[in-house]
Structures are given as C-alpha cells and as structure tokens.
C-alpha cells in the first residue's frame, strides 16, 4: 500500500510539473500563436527539477516498484498532456 | 564504387555481416567478461547483451560515411571475437 501511495504522490508531483512546463513552453506558445504567457516569470529548470525529482528520490528510498511504475506512467501522462491543443488559438499556422 | 555497389555493400554490412558480428560477440563474451561474484556473469551477459551486440554494428554500418571504415570495424571485431572463441576453445 505504501508503494502505491509513493507512486501516486510522485505521479501527482510530476504531472503537475509537466502541466506547468506545457503551459510555459515557448515553442508551443509560438506554434499556436499565443505569445507570452502573462507576466509571471517562468521557471522551466525548476519545473524540470521538480518533475524528475521522483526519479532520484524513489530509488534512494528503495521504492523501486514505485519508481518503475512512475517512470512508465509519466511517459504516458506527459504525452497526453502535450497532445491536447491549446483552445484559444487564433491561427493554427506553424 | 558506383552508387549501386555502395548500396549493396552497405546492405551486406548492416544485414548478414552485422548478424555474424553479433553472434560472434555473444560467443566471445564468456572469454573476456568478468566472472563476477557468482561466477556466472560472463555467461549471463553474453546472452543478455545480444540485442546491443546486434544494434551496435548495425548502426555503425548505417551511420558510417566511409563504408570501408565500417567494414574494417565490423570485420575486425568479428576477427578478434573469432580468435577468442577458437583459441580458447582449443586450449580448453
């Protein structure tokens, strides 16, 4: 049960980080003509660090099964997050 | 060499030659790989690494801009492995 909780917590943290990265991604914004994302300074490195942190923390805790499930899950979740088109596009040309 | 000849040579290197190199790399592993704590690693890794033993020469053959270089690397590897296998085969 604890492994499952570790996994779910790690996945939640990483999914949030990936979601944030998707929001601030410059190329994504450019491709969909969305320009800059408001005034909040973006922190891609921090987000990458947080998103990938479970990859260090879980093995360090000896939670190998949670680590491996997390690794598999983020590759699917990241894909699904990136797959969704931004809604408020005005033009779709690249 | 003309274009067709080069293409055929590259196919030969990436196809049958790569396969032979992969098999020889696997067969030679027991003779150089550290035996490890349980005295099985040299046997186990020969088989475990087979996909890598295939992929490495395959991409050498595909990526090489100068075909003869790929040929030298692949055939040289094959020769070294074959020597290892047969030399020690006879000694044993």
């Amino acid at each position: 049960m604890t492994s499952l909780l570790y996994f779910l917590a790690a996945l939640a943290v990483s999914a949030a980080a990936l979601w944030y990265l998707q929001r601030i991604d410059p190329k994504r914004a450019r491709v969909f003509n969305r320009g800059a994302q408001g005034e909040t300074p973006s922190r891609p490195r921090l987000a990458w660090g947080v998103g990938l942190a479970p990859g260090l923390i879980l093995p360090a805790l000896g939670e190998l099964s949670a680590f491996l499930t997390w690794l598999g899950a983020i590759t699917v979740v990241g894909w699904l997050i990136a797959l969704k088109r931004p809604r408020d596009r005005s033009s779709s040309s690249a | 060499m003309n274009w067709n000849g080069r293409l055929i040579a590259r196919w030969a290197l990436a196809g049958p030659v790569t396969l032979i190199v992969a098999l020889l790399l696997m067969a030679a592993t027991p003779f150089w790989f550290p035996k490890g704590a349980a005295n099985v690693d040299h046997i186990v890794f020969g088989i475990l690494l087979f996909p890598a033993y295939w992929a490495a020469p395959f991409f050498v053959a595909v990526m090489a801009d100068r075909l003869w270089r790929a040929a030298v690397i692949l055939l040289g590897t094959a020769a070294v492995c074959a020597l290892m296998v047969f030399q020690l085969f006879n000694a044993a």
Partner: protein, 531 residues
C-alpha cells in the same frame, strides 16, 4: 544539436521508414497482443470462469503429490514442478530432461492437470513439455500469449520472427532519437493542424518521443526473450561448454553439490510451504522438487515480489529433512550482477511487479507504441500518396489496425462458444481467423475511409460490449449474482473494462472525427495541401 549529417539522416530515415513498411504491421500485431497479454493472467481467470483462484500452494497438497509420484516412471521423479495457471488449473509435472529430435534438451515426463477444488486428476499427459496439449480452461490467454511470443509459427521460427521484430523496434527507437533533432524542444508541442500531413507527422513524433524510453526497454527485453533460448543458449554453450547445453544450464543455475541417491521419504511439503510463507510474508506462486524420494531432494519455493520490490525470491529447503537452506538467486549460487540484471528483465517486459497498477501502465505503454507504429505508417504512405502501391499499403493500415483487435474479439467468441463442448484451443484460433477475415473483407468492400473506420469501431465496440454476456450465456461462466456472492471482483472488473472500452469504441464510431472537428472549428488553413 545535430547527431547526424544530411547523408546519415537520409540513411537513418530510410532504415526507420523501410523497416516499418516491410514489418511495421507485423510489429503492430505483436505489440498489440503484447499489450493485451500483460493481462494474460486476468484474462485467464475471467474467461475460464475464475474457478479455483485460491492459491493451491496455500492448501494441503503433500498427500496428493505423494500419491501421484507413485504413479510415474522413477526417471521422471528427477524434477517435479507444481504451478497453477491463470484459469486456476493446477499442474503437477514430473519430468526428467531428454534430447528432443531437432529441438535440443527438453523437459519430458508426466503432467497431471488437477481440479483446483478437489485436486482430482482431470487429465494426464505424457511426453515432451512442448508437445503437451494446452489446458482448455486457459485456451484464450494461451492463444494471445502465443500470438505475441511467436505469432503461432512453429519453434524456433516464430521466436526468430518476433526477435527480428524486436530488432526492428529497437532500430526504430534508436534511429528516432538520432533523427529527431529537437526532441526535447518539441516535447510539449501539440500536433499542429495546418495540414493533415503535418498533423500526422506531429502526432507520430510526439507519441514517439514520449514513448521512446519504454519502446527501447520493451524492444530490448523482448528481443532478449525471443533469442535467449533459441540462439543465445546454443551459441554460448557451444563456445564456452563445448556444446553441452545441459552442463551450461546447470552451471548458470548454480545447481550444486554431490548426488546422494539413497532413498529417503519426502518431508512434509505442507509444513515446508507454510514455513516459507511465514519467512517471506507472502504466498508461494511456484515450487519445484528435485530428486523426489532421494536423500539429496531439494524443494525450491518461488515467491512473487514483496511490496515495493521488483523481483521475486527463491527459497531452498532440504526436501528430505525439511530444513531451510536459504534464499537462492535465480542464476548462480550467490548474488551477482548478472542475476540482478537478469531478474529485472521479466518485470521490465511484463510490468507484473506491482499488481494491477503496474499492469495497467504497461498496457498503456504498449498501446502508445501501437499508436506510434500506425501513425508512422500512415505518415509514410501519405507522403507518397500519388503512387498506387503506397495507396494500397495505406489501405492495409486500418485493415490490420482494426483487424487485429477484431480478430482477438473473434478469438474470445470462439473460446466461449466452444468452451462447453468442442476443443476451445482450435476454436479460439478459428475465431481469430474468422474475425480477421471479416475485417479484411470489410476493408476491401467498403471504399470510403471514414465509413470503414466507423464500421470497424462499431464492430469493436459492440464486440466488447457483448463479451461479458457471451461469457455467461455461451460458456456458462459465473454471472454477477454469483460473482457478488463469491470472490469475483476481478471478473467483474474485467467485465466492466470490456463495457467501458466497448462504449468508448461505439462513441468513437458514432461521434465526430477529430479531423472534421478541427476543420469545423479551425481556420481555413486546415484545408491547405501539405507542404
């Protein structure tokens, strides 16, 4: 960042594309059936009615095994394996090892199939392991696994074929990494819709990029499984053991010490199993007894991975005295790097280390790879849309893409329909062929792509919706009232999975297609021709 020059990129793209064109559809079938086979155990329990899902190694079996041992040729008491398959049937296989014509060293002996409730002998087979008939209870999950492992081709050719497909997938993953210069930069760029071709390209690359790590892992481990026994074992045995495969297997397994052939009664196996349970803290899943009835008899008990672990563990007992002799690695007599790596290969490929959670993720990883394969093929054919040959291949993509799952539905129907009477093994295969054939006929008859896709989706959806009913109506499997009163949660969950997947497919068939949606909402750029 550029990993390859122009000429190299051109060659890599040729490898990436042409290998997919030649073998991509086969690869798709193997990966799809692999994704389904992740749930082989669950499918076995679901299709076989879940009879006897209580673990046989948690119940008294000593007396029964002792009786059975009396009933076999003493030569076959060299080794006994006791295990339970997905459908719950219990197997006790007394065997020795003999050379089989054209196949090398194999297990040969007497296999008893026991009823999980009463332990009565349901079936007795004698011969080589590879010639043993498939347990009828398990015909559906064995069919799916057989399709994944060797495309149902005879050994070793089937293994060679899937191994080569593993190499193709490995080459596609590696060349994909080198080819895609902006892999990290494009990781969050949703597929553009300015043209259908660009959209396809983006879809393929996005899914391919995210699934790269596991495509690589699944291809590597899969190729290992295909080639380890069929190529690796004989080759390394030849170079390092003068061709003696038996010697090599014994060496690698770390089978120890001197023989002691004096007869000695077998210690109480039930007591040993319960001690093992107490030591490890989980139920055993598999056991073997070597040298049954001799003073050097050993009992090896396998336990699945403990909470939080990836690998299971083996425990050895002296089967004459019952004394615990310690844990044993899978390979070698003591822990080693080789064993540590080897022990991860299975879990990495099967995703079976953390119950249904890891299995669900592995199914998703497999399906993502299917998606990458099919979108890649679509991309390749669409770029060459002017040529009739490529248009023909592009027609084959939906036929195989939908035909394979429809074939699997056909296999399930065949299994359920024949379960009570005829031979479910043959009818499961026949059902698959019928389902596939119908898909091909539909693909050739219906010209309009859109209509065809919807037809396929509808057929898949209604097929999935029908399976829970066919399971009870045709094969006499337990209904929900019975399942609610017994421990039938898994079967109900599988039923629900079929219903949800079926509803999703039906809604896809009836809903508006994504391209249309994009065209309706998007700008005029949508209809611009590609590049």
């Amino acid at each position: 960042m550029s990993l390859a020059n122009k000429a190299q990129s051109k060659r890599l793209l040729a490898v990436h594309g042409w290998s997919a064109v030649a073998l991509g559809l086969f690869l798709y079938v193997v990966v799809l059936t692999g994704s389904v086979a992740v749930l082989a155990h669950e499918i076995g329990q679901w299709s076989g009615g879940g009879k006897g899902h209580a673990n046989v190694l948690d119940r008294p079996i000593h007396d029964r095994l002792t009786e059975l041992a009396e009933d076999v040729d003493p030569a076959y008491r060299e080794e006994l394996s006791v295990y339970q398959n997905a459908a719950g049937s219990v197997f006790a296989f007394f065997h020795g090892h003999e050379k089989k014509e054209g196949a090398g060293l194999q297990d040969k002996g007497v296999r008893f199939v026991l009823d999980p409730e009463t332990l009565a002998v349901v079936q007795r087979d004698e011969g080589f392991r590879s010639d043993m008939p498939i347990d009828r209870q398990s015909a559906l999950d064995r069919f799916i696994v057989g399709l994944h492992v060797r495309l149902h081709a005879p050994n070793p050719w089937g293994l060679f074929a899937t191994g080569v497909l593993g190499f193709v997938m490995l080459a596609a993953a590696i060349s994909g990494i080198i080819l895609h210069k902006h892999l990290l930069k494009d990781l969050f760029v949703a597929p553009r819709i300015s043209s259908l071709l660009l959209n396809r390209r983006d879809r393929h690359i996005l899914a391919g990029s995210w699934s790269l790590p596991f495509s690589f892992i699944l291809a590597f481990t899969g190729a290992f499984f295909s080639f380890a026994g069929s190529v690796g074992l004989p080759i390394v045995a030849m170079s390092a053991f003068g061709g003696d495969q038996e010697k090599m297997v014994e060496f690698v397994l770390g089978t120890p010490e001197t023989a002691d052939e004096r007869p000695s009664p077998v210690a109480n196996l039930d007591a040993i199993l319960s001690e093992s349970r107490a030591r490890v803290g989980s139920s055993p899943t598999f056991m073997t007894v070597s040298h049954w009835g001799r003073a050097d008899a050993k009992l090896t008990v396998f336990h699945g991975p403990a909470e939080g672990d990836i690998e299971g563990s083996n425990h050895v007992f002296n089967a004459a005295t019952g004394a615990y002799e310690g844990g044993k690695p899978l390979l070698g007599a003591k822990p080693s790097l080789g064993n540590a790596v080897f022990a991860w290969v299975g879990p990495l490929h099967f995703g079976n280390f953390a119950g249904l959670m890891s299995k669900a993720i592995w199914v998703a990883l497999g399906l993502a790879t299917c998606y990458v394969t099919l979108t890649g093929l679509q991309l390749w054919t669409q770029r060459r849309n002017e040529s009739a040959t490529w248009r023909a291949l592009s027609r084959a993509i939906p036929i195989v893409g939908y035909g394979a799952p429809i074939g699997l539905l056909g296999a399930s129907v065949g299994f359920f329909a024949s379960f009570r009477g005829a031979d479910p093994t043959d009818w499961t295969a026949a059902g698959f062929l019928i389902g596939s054939a119908l898909s091909i006929v539909a693909g050739l008859a219906v010209k309009d792509r859109e209509t065809l896709s919807r037809l396929y989706q509808g057929a898949t959806g209604f097929g999935l919706l029908a399976l829970p009913f066919l399971r009870t109506l045709l094969s006499g499997g337990p209904g929900w009232t019975e399942l609610l009163n017994t421990d039938g949660a898994l079967i109900m969950a599988m039923d629900l999975l079929m219903v949800f997947a079926g509803l999703a497919a039906v809604s896809m068939a009836s809903g508006v297609r994504l391209e249309k949606l994009a065209a309706g909402r998007g700008s005029k750029a949508v209809v611009q021709p590609a590049e």
